[in-house]
Assembly symmetry: C2
Homo-oligomer: 213 residues x 2
């Protein structure tokens, strides 16, 4: 059987994303070179730009894989408390925060690459990437629905993004070597305490959603 | 008068930091090239490495200037409430969070460079940089002393870092273009709501410090 040109194109595309993913996961964004990728994927350097518009696009496809992995890690979080109660909802939020830390601590280099990457020349992000990013917040929205049932959709989405961002900040600066990275047990404690403190201040939380949407 | 060699060395050093600062503040870290810096500072490329151990060190000196600017911005925050009360302390924490947002929104490129920069080859950070970084948390420690007077020094420092990190996360993801950056009024609302919610949950906050230090 002879592979069609379309098949070959698709296979090359996968090889290039695989090669970029290996490089980014092992050494980070700064180590990515078109020449190395071409050698690894067994094509000419110019061919990369037949398959992807620019290196930014290739980096985003690797970022998409990281987002999908992270989505799976957060999706696997299940509360131990009986569901439907406020306690279960707070538990879920704490577990989500801890799962996020776990993911970042395990896949540190590729997780950092996701946030360090800046689009060159003010290029717009493709919709397939934006949609996968927004998925992250939906994990936080679910417990919020139990915790603050009166909150409307937009307000809940805003609040979910705020909580996700606060947790992200604690994890990002907590694992930051320049800031003397913290031991994981201390970080877990900070995350659980912060999420419990935030959710204890429910009156103020409602205000985030209502005016910020 | 003839400048001594030591004077010339110091003047060149300043010119190089100035040149790197202009580049980083205007276009970010990725645009920094030794060749361009040498041209701007009117020296040979190799001379840069007589003045600085490596480009990382030069980048850190620019980072130090950013940290000093940020320190001044946070140091200028004064509460409107009579000091000494819990309300004044919470107010101060809210104002600090808003001042941090203001700084990041005004100096976005150089502020991002501070967090995007990674040391090459696992080089250790110099003490002068680490100390200036730790200064940031002291602004948060002061209101915490009023709010939770029973908390010991280490616990207060841990809690200050946690709160700073949560605020940093909301600002960082809030201004992130890849995540569709939020309008400043919405972000201000999220920050104020989060800080007020967190400080309302004081029992949980104590637990962050006590076990995490």
């Amino acid at each position: 059987m002879i592979a069609t040109q379309k098949d070959r194109h698709a296979a090359l595309r996968e090889r290039l994303i695989d090669a970029a993913e290996r490089t980014i996961a092992a050494n980070g964004l700064a180590s990515l070179r078109a020449r190395d990728l071409a050698r690894e994927a067994d094509c000419a350097v110019g061919t990369i730009y037949n398959v992807f518009e620019h290196l930014d696009e290739l980096i985003l496809w690797v970022g998409l894989r990281t987002l999908v992995m992270l989505d799976a890690a957060l999706g696997a979080v299940r509360s131990a408390s009986p569901s439907g109660s406020s306690e279960a909802a707070v538990d879920d939020l704490v577990r989500l925060a801890l799962a996020y830390l776990e993911f970042a601590a395990t896949h540190t280099i590729r997780w950092r690459a996701l946030f360090d990457h800046r689009m060159s020349e003010a290029r717009a992000l493709p919709a397939w990437f934006v949609e996968q990013q927004q998925m992250l917040f939906t994990h936080v929205e679910r417990p919020l629905l139990t915790l603050l049932p009166a909150l409307e959709g937009d307000a809940r989405r805003t609040l979910a993004r705020t909580l996700f961002s606060a947790v992200h900040g604690i994890v990002a600066l907590g694992l930051e070597e320049k800031l003397e990275s913290l031991p994981l047990p201390a970080l877990r404690n900070q995350l659980a305490g912060t999420v419990r403190a935030i959710t204890a201040g429910r009156v103020e939380l409602r205000s985030i959603g209502s005016a910020g949407g």
